[in-house]
Each structure stands twice: as C-alpha cells, then as structure tokens.
C-alpha cells in the first residue's frame, strides 16, 4: 500500500470536506471529471454540491472564494495550472491578501496551484509562482516537498484563517510515494532538516529537495557532508532554522526551480547575508532556473532548471571556495 503525493492531496481534501461543512472546492473540471490531475477524483460524488465546476474565469473564481469566505466559508480553489493563476492575480493579491489588514475580516481561502515543470510542458504549464505571491503581504505560501507535507500542510492551509497559496509540484504528483499518510505533522513556519550535515547548508523547497538529497548522497561519497534544509513554506520562511544550519556549516547554497530575480533563493541569501554574515566562511550562493521562459524541448528543459548534476557542481565549487 503506498500513497502518492497526489493521493495525499486528494485525501486531505476529502478529510477537510468531511470534517468541516464550511469547506467547498471550486475549480475547472474538479467535479465529475475529478480534476485535470485527478486531485478531486470521486470527491464530487462523495460530497454532492460541494465540489463545483467553475467556468474558465480565474479572476471570478478567486473573487467568489473571497466573498464566500467573508460569509464564513472555507473555500479551496483549484487552479488548473499555477501558470493560469495570473488572470486571478489581482483578486489574490489585492482582494484576498488585503482584506484582513484593511477590514479586520479574515480571508480563509486556499488556492491550490499545480506548479513546476515536467518535460514537454512548455512555458505556460511549468511555472513556479511562489516568489511573486510571497512578495505580497497578507498571504501564506506553502511549498510541500513530501507526501506527508502535501497531506498535513493542505489540511493546515484550510484551517488557517489567512489566504494560503498552496504550491503543489506536478512532477511529484505521481513520482513521489510514501508508505502511508502521516498522523502527526510539523506546523507550517518550521523548516525541516531533511538530511543533517556538517560542511554545507543546502536549502531547497518543493521538488528541488529531492534533487538536493541526491546531491548530498553523491557528495557524501566524496567525503563532504551536506545538510539539506526543506523550507516547507516559503512564507513564512523559517529563518531561524536556516541560520542555525549555517552556524553549523559556514556555507550556504540555496536552490530553486524558479527564476533568479527576487526569488526565494534571493530572499534566503539576503537574510543569511544580513543577519548571519559572521557565520559565513564563504560567500552565500544560489542556483536557479535560467532567466528565460521555461522551454518546451526536453533537452532545453533539462538544461534550464537546476538538476542534481548542476547542483552538485555548484556545491563542489562552494566547498572549494
């Protein structure tokens, strides 16, 4: 019996629907069809009237969620791809994210974004959007890397009184499996030491955590012990855990699948450089995708994003600095 990352997301939604009558799911093709990725398979049947098909109107989908939230509901909005959340960007950042600060009325919506690239997806089915949402005050941005976190963090997202941008990684949907769903969880806001180490801190989130772990394995054979930190949420970002890790190792490499400018890796490096300058034995480094749209061809796609190979090269360079 094994549970995939996608199963976990589906199970979490099922549980949320079952436990809380205020929860409903709204998105394109989520009803009878079960969602483009089958994240809501069978949920419409199990919870009649609470898993609804939306027209292709991302702006109105989010607006509807906010209105429902003001009236006490806890909507989950499924965007078909993270890339398509941009038509709804205004409602997310200007309506949902500002509601509480301006009016004291909380906005407990959850927006699920299938993020990240798989080979052949191209520029508009591959994006990682966590940085621009994290930039706006008033949003929580989650980036689960494991099956367990996909489950427990989605449940927490629904329970949190603030708008949560839940960045699911499409590649992990079927590729990542666990033996069972978790019974306990770390709270959002805490990063996880995925692998302890001594010589370098390798910070990653979402699918990149697995690349990072592969790199740590590889470099262990060369005598270097890398500590891998899984951020779990990029906002709030657990600066304390990252700082404590750099205090142990003295070296930082932060990896992200998204673009470099103003991304999560820039934020991590900025924090460590400004608050932990005296902990660093070498300049903090980061590795991101190339500053172009995500390419379609597998050869280009593989070269566009950080891979275990490119991360390993960057790690070796940093170890020798």
């Amino acid at each position: 019996m094994s549970v995939t990352y996608l199963d976990a997301i589906r199970e979490a939604q099922a549980r949320a629907l079952a436990d809380d009558p205020r929860v409903f799911i709204y998105g394109q093709d989520v009803g009878a069809f079960g969602g483009a990725f089958k994240a809501t398979k069978n949920l419409a049947q199990k919870f009649p009237g609470r898993v609804m098909d939306a027209p292709i109107s991302e702006d109105a989908m989010i607006g509807l969620a906010v209105g429902a939230a003001i009236q006490g509901m806890r909507p989950i909005i499924e965007m078909q791809f993270a890339d398509f959340s941009t038509p709804g960007f205004n409602q997310i950042v200007n309506q949902a994210a500002t509601l509480h600060w301006r009016t004291r009325v909380p906005c407990p919506i959850t927006v699920r974004l299938p993020c990240g690239g798989t080979s052949g997806s191209g520029p508009f089915h591959s994006q990682s959007m966590e940085a621009i949402y994290a930039h706006y005050p008033g949003l929580v941005v989650m980036t689960p890397a494991t099956v367990e976190d996909a489950y427990s963090m989605l449940l927490e997202a629904v329970a949190i009184d603030d708008p949560v941008i839940f960045c699911e990684h499409k590649y992990l949907y079927y590729h990542l499996k666990a033996e069972r769903l978790p019974t306990e969880a770390m709270p959002t806001g805490k990063a996880r030491i995925a692998r302890p180490g001594r010589d370098m801190t390798l910070v990653a989130y979402s699918a990149m955590v697995h690349e990072a772990l592969a790199v740590a394995e590889e470099l262990a054979a060369e005598g270097a012990e890398l500590e891998v930190v899984d951020l779990r949420s990029v906002k709030p970002l657990d600066t304390d855990t990252v700082m404590a890790s750099v205090a142990r190792t003295g070296r930082l490499l932060c990896v992200g699948e998204a673009w470099p400018w103003g991304g999560v890796t820039a934020e991590v490096v900025a924090r460590v450089a400004s608050e932990g300058f005296g902990l660093l034995d070498a300049p903090p480094q980061r590795l991101n995708a190339k500053d172009t749209p995500v390419p379609y061809h597998p050869n280009l796609w593989a070269a566009h994003r950080p891979t275990a190979r490119s991360i390993a090269a960057a790690a070796r360079r940093l170890l020798r600095l």
Partner: protein, 401 residues
Amino acid sequence: MPSIPIIMPQLGESIAEATIVNLLVPVGDQVQTDQDIIEVETSKATMNVASPCPGRVERFLVKLGESYPVGAVLGYLEASPADAARLGLDVVPARNGEESEAGLDPSRRTQTESTHKSVQPTVRGLPVPANAAGASYMSPRMKARMVELGLHAADLAGLPGSGTAGRVTIQDFEKFIANLEQHKLSQASTMRVAVADAMRRSWTRPLATVALPVCFDALLNHRRTCNPKPGPALYALRALALALSENSAPAGRLIGNKIVHPSAIDVGFAVEAEEGVLVPVIRNAEKHRLKDMVKRYDELVELARQRKLPVEATGGSIATVTNFGTFGLTWATPIPLPEQTLVLGMGAARRVPNWDAAKGQFVPVMEANLTLSFDHRVLDGGAAGRLLARVAQLLASPETL
C-alpha cells in the same frame, strides 16, 4: 543483429509509470514500425507502446499487471543494422530516463564537470591575492571568531591555509585553535599584549635601519666630570633634539600623501619595565641644556621602573631613543613606535682599535654603534645617514649639549 530496446514512453503530463495490460505480439513475430506491441494503462487512460522500427520481437522484460516507470526498457527487438543505424537507435538511450527521473533514480552515475557544457552561473572567487597563502583573506566567520578570541592576522602567521589560493578556512582555524589547547599555555600580561599590538601596528610600515660607529671617548670623558652623571641615553636624546630642531622633516609622519610635521621637539626614551618597555618623554628637549635635564630624566626613569609614570609624562613624542647597549648589545634594529617615524639606538661601547692617520698607527678608542631605525616611506638612507652624522657630530662635543 542489433537489439533495439522498447522503451516506456512519456504517456501524458506528470505520468510517471504505467501498468502492463497486454503483450500484443508474441515473441518471435515480425513487426512493422509503429505497430502496437504492448498495451499499458496509466491513471488516466489505456494506451499502446509502438515499435520503433521494423524487426522481430526478441524478448519482453515485463510481467503482466506490473507497473514500470517512464523510460524503462520493456523488451528488445531484433532489427537489421541498416534499420538500427538509419533510425539512430543502436545505442541504449539512458538520457531519456535520466531527464524524466532526475534525482530520484538511485542508480544515477556521477558525471565529471568537464562533460557539462552549458553555461553555469559563474561563482566569482574570493578576493584572495595571488600567492598570498595564509590569513590574508579572512571570511566574515573567521573575523567574527578572531574578534571573539582577541586574535589578529599576525597571530595566525604560522598557519598555512587549505582553502582556495591557500586561504585559511574556518575549519583550518578551528583546528589550529583546538591544537593550541594541547600545548602549555600561560597568560600574557596586559603590558605584553599592549607592546605586541604596538609592534604589530608599527610593522605594517616598511622599516629600515642604518648605523654609524661613533667614538664615545669625548662623551665618556665628559660624563666622568658630571655630578650627577647623565645617563648615556640622555646625551643621545639631547643630540637628537638639537639635530631635529635644525631639521625636523625626518621626524615627520606620512599619512596618505601628506607629511605631518612635528609641532614640538618632544623626545622619548625607552625604559625597560617588567614585561615590557615604557617611554617617558622630555618635552621641548632642544630648549634645555643637558645638565638641566638630568634631574628630570632620572625622576622619569625611576617612575617608569615603578610603573608610576603620570599620563602627561608619556605620549606625544616625535622620536624615541633607546640604549640597547645597557644589555651589552652592540647592534640592534629597534622598531619605532607605531605613531613615530624614528627610533635612535645606542649600542654598548667597546674598546676597539681605530686607525689614527696622524700617528700612522691603530689607537684604542671606545666605539659604539648609533642606529637609526625609520619608516622608509618618510625618509631614505641619505636623510637617515645625514641625521645620524649630525647626531654623531654633536656627541663628539658633549660640552655643547
């Protein structure tokens, strides 16, 4: 006959694997290009894997009802070399499998960097000067630790580094510190640490020394006639003061591209105190005759020895005199105080033969070395030599001091 692998294709967005439902062609049968060979089922649909080229089904590697990942080899076709070459299919493409399963396949090979041709983000190196092994580059972490431990780069002089360009890494540093703990350690006195710091700071300048052997008979004879007797260093102090009052430039300091001129001819003299050296100062030494300075000089020496020098009696001097001859030394290269350009040294006088041209023979004289150690940025050998020569000249007529 080449064996062509039948590969599990990428059957849809985010699909990672598929289950074998049916083997559509028996082993041994001929197939055409694109003929369906294996039926598979994904979570979304049932699809067929087709033959990449004409050939004979050689064998299957899969079991019905089992799942296999995208990129896995499901079986082999026997094809003609011409077909295989034409389609470029005569090698096993490990590439596809790697790209779609990057990071999750534990059997990945490590690749050397040299095979990776794409442009990686450049990581600029640390600003370590070439051939500057050791503590010349200190990382922020190193600096923080050094501040914590009260260390300077000079303390790490003996520590070669293992980092890039020979720099000292934090690991080198921590090992070094830990290693020190293995040795016998005793506390250095505050005085020792203060002198160490002053010498370290002084040494950041390029220092040089010149020397002049001087006949001390006149001085020694003059001294015998005095009561109380002036210390030998006082003669040198007075002579230096007079020489500097004639030309104070050698005692100037160079800060950037400016020469800071001395304002008063205050000259200090070194007194050995426990664990270090103190430097009391005679103010306006060019204005007072030698005999009028003796009392003050003796007082200062006594106060210094007892470590009771008042604040106003130290600091602010423009040059220092040191009589290393009291230790029996004939030659030394003292280091000027960090805030001064000059230190005049006097060695022990010895009886040596000196050629007397008038008499045509060697005559015994008392000879001592006068040394001038100086900041070579401010003056060169010539100016230093001239200053020493003038001091020697003045010392030859001690009654004029």
